[in-house]
């Protein structure tokens, strides 16, 4: 099967934070729990031969539906925001083939850096209503939170644990080309 290189103009693409979302999903009790982060920076650098994605997330901006849970997520039991205020992601050799994205990189959570496979899709750039070039990037990664020291759990009556170790990270990003 042949692939065609997506026509992404070379340059720097910065996040439109208002129209982007960085969230996570994790199995908890009988379903899937979701949360997101509000303070996120992402930069995509593209050249004729490849691309680089760099992102930082402020742990203090974690957003869930209960203020007590927000506080717990920032505590040493979970992300330990005081000691590790940022989550980071860096992928140097990003492949933008056709509409798909392969962005193997390194993710840093709670001060621990591990390799991570990130995949996703890319929408072709459009010109938005204000004359900016804009593209959409959807990325997904799966991590084992215990590899990063995020170990909190609580047992169920069955002896199973309430919170899954597997966490899916979901990024729905809109990026605007720098002038």
């Amino acid at each position: 099967m042949s692939t065609t290189q997506t026509k992404i103009p070379a340059g720097t693409w910065n996040l439109d934070p208002v129209h982007s979302n960085l969230g996570f999903e994790v199995g908890y009790l009988a379903g899937t729990f979701r949360g997101q982060f509000g303070d996120v920076l992402v930069k995509l650098d593209t050249t004729d031969t490849g691309a680089r994605i760099e992102g930082t997330v402020q742990v203090a901006s974690v957003d869930v539906k209960d203020e007590n849970l927000t506080a717990h997520l920032q505590s040493p039991d979970f992300f330990d925001a005081e000691r590790y205020p940022e989550l980071r992601f860096l992928a140097e050799g990003v492949e933008l083939d056709n509409e798909t994205v392969e962005a193997p990189g390194e993710i840093t959570i709670k001060g621990v850096t591990k390799p991570v496979e990130v995949t996703g899709t890319l929408s072709e750039p459009i010109e938005d209503a204000w004359g900016n070039e804009r593209l959409g990037l959807q990325l997904t990664a799966t991590v084992d939170r215990t590899e990063f020291g995020v170990n909190w759990n609580t047992p169920l009556p069955t002896g199973d644990q309430a919170l899954s170790n597997t966490v899916t990270i979901l990024a729905e990003l809109q990026l605007v080309k720098a002038a």
């Binding site: 203020e67 007590n68 927000t70 506080a71 505590s75 040493p76 005081e82 000691r83």
Partner: protein, 189 residues
């Protein structure tokens, strides 16, 4: 000057946990001021209706003691396999509101004594879980003084050398956690 709030979870005068706490207090360096919490007995049962600006005086004093400390050291007995109710109740008051409570990110360490064989290990484990849930930076260290009546002399000195060594390690670990947090704050400033 570094301040540590020391709490005995046992109220009776000749408590082995108070003895253990005071043995630990003596092991801190000269640069640490340790305040023993007074007034645990007069903290009323937690009632959200009583909280807020009109919180009882005993609760305001309790919260001020936690707020003024750089770290917390607790020696807990074990009542029916768990934390004594009055100690848990006091921590419940301190924990509200959770996002701004004075234990948040504060180093805390737990030790314990019991007249039985196990040295309050279950109460200690429960208490560590409670402290972590409140947001404290729980130090991963333990001293379990079982058969407590045989471990102290008549002056209340811990006479078991192994336990004294463990207690020293716990105190050192708490002091290290305090120093690390202070350095973090300096770096961030």
């Amino acid at each position: 000057m570094t301040k540590v709030l020391a709490i005995s979870g046992s109220l009776r005068d000749s408590s082995y946990n108070t003895m253990l706490l005071r043995n630990a207090i003596e092991l801190f360096g000269a640069d640490v001021v340790v305040e023993e919490l007074d007034g645990l007995k007069v903290v009323p049962p937690y009632d959200e209706d009583d909280d807020g600006d009109g919180a009882p005086e005993a609760v305001r004093s309790l919260r001020a003691a936690f707020a003024g400390a750089d770290a917390v050291l607790i020696s807990t007995p074990e009542y029916n396999s768990s934390v004594p109710g009055h100690l848990k109740n006091a921590l419940d008051w301190v924990s509200r509101p959770l996002a701004a409570n004075p234990l948040r990110n504060k180093p805390a360490v737990v030790v314990g004594a019991s007249t039985g064989a196990f040295g309050a290990v279950w109460a200690q484990a429960e208490l560590r879980k409670v402290l972590a849930s409140i947001g404290a930076r729980v130090v991963d260290a333990e001293v379990a003084v079982g058969h407590a009546p045989t471990r102290f002399d008549e002056d209340g000195t811990l006479i078991d050398e192994d336990l004294r060594e463990q207690l020293g390690e716990v105190v050192d670990a708490l002091a290290a956690a305090i120093t690390e947090r202070a350095e973090l704050a300096r770096t961030a400033a």
